[in-house]
Amino acid sequence: MNEITIEINGKKVIALKGENLLEVLKRNNIEVPTLCHLKGLFPSGACRMCVVEVEGRRNLVASCSEPVMEGMKIHSHSPRVINARKTIVELLLSNHPDDCLYCERNGNCELQNLAELMHVRERKIAGKKNKYRIDVSSPSLVRDPSKCILCGRCVRVCEEIEGVSAIDFTYRGSKTIIAPAFHKGLNLSSCVNCGQCILVCPTGALKEKSYLDEVRNALNQKDLFTVVQYAPSITVSLAEEFGLEPGTDMNGVLNAALRKIGFKAVFDTSFSADLTIMEESAELIDRITNGGVLPMITSCCPAWVKYAEQFYPDLLPNISTCKSPQQMMGAIIKHYYAMVENLDPQKIYSVSIMPCTAKKFEHTREEQQRQGLPDVDVAITTRELIKLIKMHGINLKELEPELADSPLGSRSTAGKIFGASGGVMEAAIRTAYYRLTGKELVSFKIPAVRGLQGRKETRIEIGSLNLGVAVVNGLQNARLLLEEIRKGRNDIQFIEVMACPGGCINGGGQPIGMKEENIKARMNALYKIDESETIKASHQNPYIIELYNKFLKKPLSHKSHELLHTRYQPRNVIK
């Protein structure tokens, strides 16, 4: 018998042995506020917001970490409990900057919500506030310790999900702060810029470094030809913010909106995802047939690339030399599109919209430019895009869908599914299969690599070749797999790594406050697109074929290497 009976607020309730009280409360629709709680991670019990009264216990009990016991009698909203919760919020506010109006998270802040929920209407507790310098050293993230309420969610995500541990608690007592090692800047730390910490931060203590002003300045400069690209996952990640069903694909209206905002050309990064697949699958085949370093590991995720440079320098030869789709698109815009359209590459200002904060870091890497001309000039996140759209007063619901600009605007669905974990793998296999066998796959769908699980492995028959593939998301999962590789595991030839759990649809640049259902909806939306359209493989994309015919000649050609491939080097950071 695994079921036990407990009593909540005078009502008998069935619970399962081993469950935490908070789960039972939630299942029974009893709302208990939380701050430090993160589903799936070991409870930290730090914030004490979820305390409840358990009869017979001297102190209040944190429901997030309290296992249920037969016969427990619980009061979830007794005066004593509410008093404690309210005092906790008041204590937090007594050490919080009063600059909500200027805060990134104004209107979307858990502390604000709690203050509202607990009806804090008077400054009962006052005292000295901690003031810290804002850490702007990172190209991707801004850390404002003054706004940090030390819930520790970022620390746990960084350690338990990403296996990075770039930040942790330092100092003691009221001087405690969360900071990188030795209290140095984030830029010197092992931070991989994935931005997962931003997604879990309840306040404005962590946010992306915004480049909206740079984008608006560029749009205002008449002599600049400002172009924009958006990542595959963007179009399915906007719906919630505009009051639509999660996962609604807004590709067409997004094109229209971006033109309305003033971009002179709008490109879909899924096109360069196709291009990535052309190069990457060629590279994979080359490595397999010519005895190259295996397993080959994808290079689309800049957080992963930095992670490998820091922690797995010995595996750098395993990483595909292909640039990421963002950077390929950037290079093609400035070197091919400029040629076709007869534009001065120096006058092109190339903006990319990414679900990612690490992309802000990626485009500043010195290998990602040619003769001082960066492939991409600025990268903004989904969140920044939403602000830009709203700032321009654009109502997406009323826009007529438009197509992206040619010749770089058309994609196969293989490029589109890049947005979900397993997508790169699936797309690459579709093209590799064709390359190796001369035939198309009977069914393009590879269910074994789809889904939100942290690690997916399968074997695929390609003619006489039996290919072992693995897909991991969340860098901690990558670490576990790579440790196996280091120990000599050799049955895998191709690995896809994405830093964010679930892939780019759950990227660190995506809107905050999403639940697992939202992420699933986005994933399903991508696969629905794949299902419904006809061009399902990158090598079938006519514009890709044209690009090779007219410009690149063939995958891994001299021109390709010049523009579309890159290199990596071991990176010294404070670990």
Binding site: A46, V51, A62, A84, L91, I149, G173, K175, T176
Partner: protein, 641 residues
């Protein structure tokens, strides 16, 4: 007779019956048959602080100069810290004599006298009481000294008496027998039963029954289990664990070995603060000796039992005394408590079942195994058995370490053992249990000391710090001291403790600081007192760990017994003990002031004005009540009120 390891092991440790050789060896090792004089120096950290190092050197020089062959042995602290440096001299055939306050210069007269068969009466504290030795005439016995007469020394039995780094002497005094017979005679379950029956409770503060804790860990199934000895003694005014480890490290090791057996642990840690270098050094030596004698390590005396004990130094964080934080620290992580359950007995160090026990708890174990559960249970009160060691400090005559049976009234400790309040002042309160405890006033001095009765009066047993305060102590200041300590030592994890203790401290600072010009200040102060209690309630109720839950205790307990003092601070802006600097007013007595200008030069805010050779005055609007004029004035012209 030559004593070596083999002989000690065969005759003293393993032999079931004592033969003549064993008897002689024992006599030699305990010093009772020594043909040369032996000189013992009380060289605990407390003794060394009082100058024992120089005393020891003086003894060595003396012996060299007079070409006398006599071993000089460093022992731990006998407990009477107030009388240090202590030097014992054992002449052949005579009782060992203890001398107090022996500074380097005192060595010569004392030794001159005793080698002539006389006792330097000014310095003598008392003589020991060994039935086999001849007593010195006219010299009081040490065990009849008021400091010792009401004590019952089980844990401290050997402290200050034996050579702490001689495993031979420890064995000669019956050491490690309990361990070897335990692992041969009893099953782990039986050991748990004996410990539980004895009624031994955790001496670290919580008072959880040790036997129950052992059994919980024993019954957790795992390939690896750990025992941890918690020697992270962090309470201000507590030094019991340090003294025990410095004075008798083998007793702690033996207790650990027994408990490790009882819970099925093969690895153990001593988590000790790095601020205890001497204790660490002696423990390291003792561990190496135990290893050498086969009492630790692989397959101990062919029983198939393994035990490895490692020392883990803590970096001096108060919160690391909390068991879950301590375990994180052992793992090399930041010491922050985590919610329990899972309890350490299920998920402890490196995720394995672990039992965390305090030094004093472990030091009690060998005695229980030797003398039986009933013997131990016969001492103390109904629910608190055995003895408790307290560190006596503050405004008391006999500061030091005392061990009393549970149930002894505090009055006995303070007035009989402690010798009353120093300098003839009046008793005000005693703080028990460190920053987590509370204060006890005159009216409750008669309550018998045990876990439950202390909680009833708003204090707690804690680890054993007893800080005695006289009438010159300001209770608001005491509360402020502990609050400051707690808020600095809070790990910063949970919000009530981190933010709440800081706000409480700010309120205390506000009521004891100099009034400013803000008219709202008085109101804020008044609100502060009511808020103190509100915050305290929430911090107690909602904090994550024991440190936070007990953090407001010093404030609550002083508020409970000394509310009038708080009100004086708030409403009358007066500190009756004249401790709170901010509430002092400094004025200059014109009749006494010579106009020397010294105070005006020292004043950091230029509040003092006046012409040379004419009386000066203090501008009260500028004065910050720092007191530097008071310290500077040579003519007593500065008046404090």
């Amino acid at each position: 007779m030559k004593i070596n390891k083999q002989l000690v092991i065969e005759k003293l440790l393993l032999a079931s019956e004592e033969d003549a050789i064993a008897k002689e060896a024992r006599a030699i090792l305990t010093g009772s048959k020594s043909e040369t004089p032996i000189i013992f120096i009380g060289a605990g950290t407390c003794g060394l602080g009082a100058g024992a190092g120089k005393t020891k050197q003086a003894v060595i020089n003396y012996l060299e100069k007079h070409q006398i062959k006599a071993p000089v042995i460093e022992v731990g602290c006998i407990g009477l810290c107030a009388a240090e440096p202590l030097m014992d001299v054992k002449m052949p055939g005579k009782q060992r004599v203890c001398f107090s306050h022996v500074m380097a210069g005192d060595v010569e007269p004392i030794l001159d006298a005793i080698f002539e068969g006389k006792i330097h009466e000014e310095k003598v504290l008392g003589q020991f009481n060994d039935p086999e030795q001849d007593p010195w005439e006219g010299i009081p016995f040490l065990h009849e000294h008021p400091f010792f007469v009401k004590q019952k020394r089980l844990v401290l039995k050997n402290c200050g008496i034996i050579n702490p780094v001689s495993i031979d002497e420890y064995i000669a005094r019956g050491g490690y027998k309990a361990y070897l017979s335990t692992i041969k005679k009893y099953s782990p379950e039986e050991v748990c039963n004996i410990i539980e029956k004895s009624g031994l409770r955790g001496r670290g503060g919580g008072g959880f029954p040790t036997g129950v804790k052992c059994r919980l860990t024993l019954r957790s199934e795992s390939d690896q289990k750990y025992l941890v000895c918690n020697a992270d003694e962090g309470d201000p005014g507590a030094f019991m664990d340090r003294a025990v480890i410095e004075g008798d490290p083998h007793r702690v090791i033996e207790g650990m070995a027994i408990i490790a057996y009882a819970i099925g642990a093969t690895k153990a840690y001593v988590y000790i603060r790095a601020e205890y270098p001497l204790a660490i050094a002696r423990l390291e030596k003792a561990l190496a000796q135990a290893q050498e004698y086969g009492l630790l390590g692989h397959d101990i005396y062919n029983t198939g039992i393994h035990l490895e004990i490692k020392i883990k130094k803590g970096a001096g964080a108060f919160v690391c005394g909390e068991e879950t934080a301590l375990m994180y620290s052992i793992e090399g992580r930041r010491g922050m408590p985590r919610p329990r359950p899972p309890y350490p007995s299920v998920r402890g160090v490196f995720g394995k079942p672990t039992s965390v026990n305090n030094v004093e708890t472990l030091a009690n174990v060998a005695g229980i195994m030797t003398n039986g559960a009933e013997w131990f249970a016969s001492m103390g009160t109904e629910r608190s058995k055995g003895t408790k060691v307290f560190a006596l400090s503050g405004n008391i005559v006999n500061t030091g370490l005392v061990e009393i049976p549970m149930g002894t009234p505090l009055r006995t400790i303070i007035y009989d053992i402690g010798g009353g309040i120093a300098k003839g002042k009046k008793f005000k309160a005693v703080q028990i249990g460190g920053p987590s405890g509370g204060c006890i006033t005159e009216q409750n001095l008669m309550i018998p000391i045990d876990y439950e009765s202390l909680i009833q009066v708003g204090a707690m047993m804690g680890s054993g710090g007893l800080v005695v305060m006289d009438e010159d102590t300001c209770m608001v200041d005491i509360a402020k001291f502990f609050m400051d300590f707690i808020q600095r030592e809070s790990c910063g994890k949970c919000i009530p403790c981190r933010e709440g203790t800081r706000r409480m401290l700010e309120i205390l600072q506000a009521i004891s600081s100099k009034p400013g010009n803000d008219p709202n200040e008085a109101l804020m102060r008044m609100k502060g007192i009511t808020q103190l209690e509100k915050l305290a309630t929430v911090i107690k109720d909602a904090s994550l760990c024991g440190l936070g839950q007990s953090a407001p205790n010093p404030v609550l307990s002083t508020l409970r017994w000394f509310r009038d003092e708080y009100e004086e601070h708030v409403f009358e802006r007066r500190c009756r003990a004249k401790v709170c600097q901010g509430l002092r007013t400094y004025t200059i007595d014109a009749a006494l002031c010579t106009g020397c200008t010294a105070c005006a030069k020292k004043c950091p805010v230029n509040a003092i004005t006046g012409n040379r050779k004419e009386p000066h005055s203090i501008n009260q609007n500028i004065c910050i009540s720092c007191g530097s004029c008071f310290e500077t004035c040579k003519f007593n012209a500065i008046v404090v009120s």
